[in-house]
Amino acid sequence: MKTFIKGIVLILAVSFTSCEDVIDLDVPTGQTRLVIEGSLDWEKGTLGNNQTIKLSTSTPYFETANIPVVTGASVKVRNVDTNEEFVFADQNDGTYTISNFVPIIGNTYNLEVIYNNETYTATETLIAVPEFNSITQSIDGGFDDELLEVNVYFDDPADEDNYYLFSFYEPGDLFANVDNFSDEFLNGNEIYNFFEKEDDEDNDQAAFQPGDTVEISCYGISEQFYNFSSIIIEQYYGGGDPFSSTAAEARGNCINETNSDNYAYGYFRVTEVVKASYTFE
């Protein structure tokens, strides 16, 4: 959020004189690594029994072929507080699933992946998320006071540090819009987040119109995941621009216990998520 504040000031300043074009460029190729997408998200109002963990490997930056999936690995999650173990089943398409997972707020979970005789582990705590108070639409809020935006309101719990990951997705788009923030300046208040789309001919994007739907997800995340996601979000939406931090690899929380140099990419998170869908009037 704060990077965003700074970014917007500076990018707007530059945009008055500059021009952008896509170029061909040779970039180096690093080591291929295991990628662990361990996102155990418990949607409010569900039991959270069905969970999926995805395994794949990294590829060269401009590689366009399909993502190489990883099969034949062993994937287990253990609740450290209850000592209950959850074994994920290999679906042979890079996904590992379970249908009897038990999420408990505040409990700590341990991931263990064994792949190529190397053991990867990670630990996370299930973080709660508040309910949405309301979802509204407006025109004069947001960045542009002529375009529709959706506003989501919720109460930030006082007396604790909270971190949120937000996703806004319009069905039909290739990608959701993701951002994260902490309650650093907002602690204990009713917080709102908004999302507005701009008309962009280059990208074939159009602003929201009445009748459009937007799917909203808000995840309660740990400080460590906040730090990790801040780096990848900043890099994803503008890695390398003059006002972004020096690019560096975002290290997730998956440790290779067998050979620490051969660490994995990705992250093991356990969150509570609140989801809603809003249709513009």
């Binding site: 704060k2 690093g30 004069d140 990608f175 009713e190």
Partner: protein, 791 residues
């Protein structure tokens, strides 16, 4: 220290017992406007005795009793020759007339006078006068001091649209930028496209890249000493210009003829006026302005007072989204006092402030931050003998830093009020330095600066477990914020941490013959303030932070050696210098560091070190219809940040990595050709190795997004930067008796429209899902026209 003092005494003892001597002192001024001339020379013909005027046009020299012919000269002016009988101490004031041919002719002086520069021990200094700067092609015709010094060897910046400049592989915050002695914390207007110095108000600039005189302290890379004009004390004058981006107007004139004068100069951009006319943009505003003021009064021949000030501001408003403004404010009250024929003094009281404000309408947040200082300085120059001149003095700077205050802008705002701890500090300095002509051929400049720094209380300091504000997480191989153990409250009268440092400075010059010399220097300096910036370009929103319990002062040591030669009767000059510099305690930032609104910056940084070395060549042509210079720099600048107390290998696995301002090759060619009385042409050609960056070395799929992975820090480079600019100045029939004088300046920046990459960003196309490298280039071919006038 003891040895040093002993050395001083021994050196002086050789000169104290001499024959009967008398001194001449006085000032050298411009005949037409009464401006004091800095760096004018006075020589006694047939001897090696001479002097150069100081910042206030003052000189003093001592010679044995006798009859002499004195020659007073300054580049671009007609020399004066006068017979004198030296049998008593005397005051002689001179006024030099601009030489007829030099009207509009450009003078490039790397040192005040070539005669002296060969002999003077001072090295690694570049001087440009306002006339030269105005003749160089500029973006959109905006004459720019900061851009013009980048045409000199050893000076670069991070490309168009980045603030500040880098000297000999140093960071932007390692430059001490002084405008009439006041510290300028941010040299840029409009996020770095233009600089804060209005060329109409400036007399000259001097850039010390090394061999920094002992009177300067507080920064480890360079000193940019910018002096404002005093104002014409003979006639009223109006100067101005109308350009595409801004207009300028400067008024100067006598308050009391020959005694006092004033100068008021203003400059303002007017894009916002045009925007008002466009319906979509009428509520937006982008503008900058600045105001320079100077006035001086000569009370009597021994006392003169000056008051100077600067006020500048940038405003950047996007309707209903944000309002942003920032700027510098400075004021300086000075008193020149001449105690006697040999002792000149200047007392200055200086105030500087830099502040910025951002109001974000869409989240109803108001953010302000500032840094301000009061500075008292007393400098003396003692002309001990014809062989030894002494500089000594003291200074004290009191800083108050307000790193951030956040306010809600309405009752309904979700923002909580937050004020980061105010930081207070005091920096003291004492120095003594001698310029000593040891033999006919060997001259030395040696001195010592003693600096102190106290981080003062009035705030709480956080204590961390194991005294580790940053901790290495060896399992995840990342640096994390340390855990808070307790807080210590420091009262306003307490100091949190004290530092002091000795900073020896030494320069030697050995004259090989009339036209050539070699020089060597050794400089140690200390920097107590740091600009926090984890981006590749410094921005106006970056905040300064003082040294303290966790952030140590930066210390630099620089060695330089150079060869200087004039040839073809001084029409050409060659300077070759090589340097090696190390900097201790250069901070760098842990991955994912968060500097905005952070009360505990120490949790985001690691103390590291930096080193830079290089070779600089400057070939100048000083005379004739064609003048100009070629500058080439071959250099390396790198840093290393070990884990230290935080544990772990450090940033980039503890290996050396390129600084963002490392440029292997840097070539600048500046040429000015005077075609005839009406037309003069000029051109810049620049070539630079691309800026070090970190490119992705792979991707992985996470939550449906392609996430880039990166290799070692700053291991890759942007494509090379190069461009050619041209400009032409047309002066219509300006009859000498006509008061109104006008000229047109036509320019083209980036003539062959090179799309230099200011940055390359790596993103995933949101339609195709493919990864792309997008080049951002800031200035394509940009034509400009400016009209300047004078009456």
């Amino acid at each position: 220290m003891k040895h040093f003092l002993l050395g001083f005494c021994l050196l002086f003892s050789t000169v104290i017992f001499a024959q009967e001597k008398y001194s001449i002192r006085g000032t050298i001024k411009d005949f037409s406007n009464g401006e004091t001339l800095l760096g004018a020379t006075i020589f006694l013909k047939g001897t090696s005795i001479g002097a150069v005027t100081n910042e206030y046009g003052f000189f003093s020299l001592t010679a044995p009793k006798g009859n002499y012919t004195v020659i007073i000269s300054f580049i671009g002016y007609e020399s004066i020759t006068q017979e004198i009988q030296l049998d008593t101490d005397q005051t002689l004031n001179f006024q030099l007339k601009e030489s007829a041919t030099s009207l509009n002719e450009v003078v490039i002086v790397a040192e005040e006078s070539e005669q002296v520069s060969i002999k003077k021990p001072q090295m690694s200094v570049s001087k440009l006068n306002a006339g030269t700067i105005k003749q160089m092609p500029a973006v959109l015709g905006e004459v720019d001091v900061i851009k013009s010094i980048q045409m000199l060897p050893g000076v670069t910046n991070n490309g168009e649209g980045s603030a500040g400049f880098n000297v000999r592989g140093g960071a932007v915050d390692q430059n001490l930028v002084l405008l009439d002695e006041a510290i300028i914390y941010n040299t840029s207007h409009f996020f770095g496209f233009f600089s804060v110095f209005n060329a109409d108000a400036i007399k000259d600039i001097k850039l010390y890249k090394g061999d920094i005189p002992a009177k300067f302290g507080g920064r480890v890379s360079s000193v940019l000493d910018v002096r404002q004009k005093d104002g014409n004390n003979k006639n009223f004058n109006i100067n101005g210009g109308i350009g595409l981006i801004s207009s300028r107007l400067a008024v100067e004139g006598p308050i009391v003829k020959d005694k006092g004068s004033f100068l008021i100069a203003g400059r303002t951009s007017y894009a916002h006026l045009i925007m008002k006319g466009i319906d979509e943009l009428k509520d937006d505003k982008i503008s900058f302005y600045d105001l320079n003021l100077k006035t001086n009064y000569e009370i009597n021949k021994n006392n003169r007072v000056y008051l100077s000030g600067y006020f500048g501001r940038d405003v950047f408003n996007i309707s209903k989204i944000l309002k942003n403004s920032y700027g510098n404010t400075t004021a300086n009250l000075r008193w020149n006092h001449i105690y006697n024929d040999r002792l000149f003094s200047n007392l200055s009281l200086i105030y500087s402030k830099y502040d910025y404000q951002i109001i974000l309408d869409f989240i109803e947040l108001d953010w302000i931050a500032d840094i301000k200082n009061y500075n008292i300085k007393y400098d003396f120059k003692y002309y001990l003998s014809d062989k030894v001149k002494l500089d000594f003095g003291a200074s004290g700077i009191s800083y108050k830093l307000n790193p951030g205050e956040v306010r809600p802008t309405s009752e309904s705002s979700p923002i909580n009020y937050l004020k980061l701890d105010q930081k207070r500090a005091f920096e003291g300095g004492l120095y003594v330095s001698a310029e000593h002509q040891i033999t006919d051929k060997l001259t030395a400049q040696y001195g010592l600066r003693y600096s102190t720094f106290s981080r003062l209380g009035g705030q709480n300091m956080t204590n961390y477990i194991n005294n580790q504000p940053v901790v290495y997480n060896s399992q995840l191989a990342i640096y994390e914020r340390g855990e808070v153990e307790s807080e210590t409250s420091f009262g306003k009268s307490e100091s949190i941490k004290n530092y002091d440092n000795f900073e020896p400075r030494l320069g030697l010059s050995y004259q090989l013959n009339e036209a050539s010399s070699i020089k060597a220097s050794y400089t140690k300096s200390t920097q107590y303030l740091h600009l926090l910036s984890n981006t590749s370009s410094v921005t106006p929103l970056d905040v300064w932070t003082p040294s303290g319990k966790y952030i140590k002062p930066q210390r630099s040591t620089q060695y330089a050696i150079g060869y200087y030669k004039n040839f073809n009767d001084k029409a050409y000059a060659l300077e070759v210098e090589t340097y090696f510099k190390t900097i201790d305690n250069r901070i760098d930032y842990i991955d994912g560091s968060d500097l905005i609104g952070n009360n505990t910056i120490e949790t985001e940084i690691l103390n590291g070190e930096a080193r830079a070395y290089g070779l600089e060549v400057l070939l100048r042509k000083n005379e004739g219809k064609f003048t100009g210079w070629l500058a080439y720099t071959l250099s390396k600048s790198e840093q290393r940040t070990l884990g230290g107390q935080a544990g772990g290998p450090g940033i980039n696995n503890g290996n050396w990595y390129n600084t963002p301002y490392d440029r292997t090759h840097d070539i600048s060619l500046t040429g000015i050709y005077k075609l005839n009385d009406k037309w003069s042409l000029s051109s810049n050609l620049v070539f630079q190795t691309g800026r070090p960056v970190t490119y992705p070395n792979g991707q992985y799929n996470y939550e449906g997004f392609s996430i880039a992975t990166y290799s070692n820090r700053n291991e890759d480079r942007l494509p090379a930067y190069h461009r050619l600019d041209i400009s032409a100045t047309y002066t219509p029939n300006n009859k000498p008796d006509k008061r109104w004088k006008g000229e047109w300046v036509f320019g083209i920046y980036n003539l062959y429209n090179r799309r230099n990459a200011a940055s390359i960003t790596f993103t995933q196309n949101d339609q195709t899902g493919l990864n792309e490298a997008t080049r951002l280039s800031i200035f394509g071919l940009i034509p400009s026209v400016t009209y300047n006038f004078k009456f």
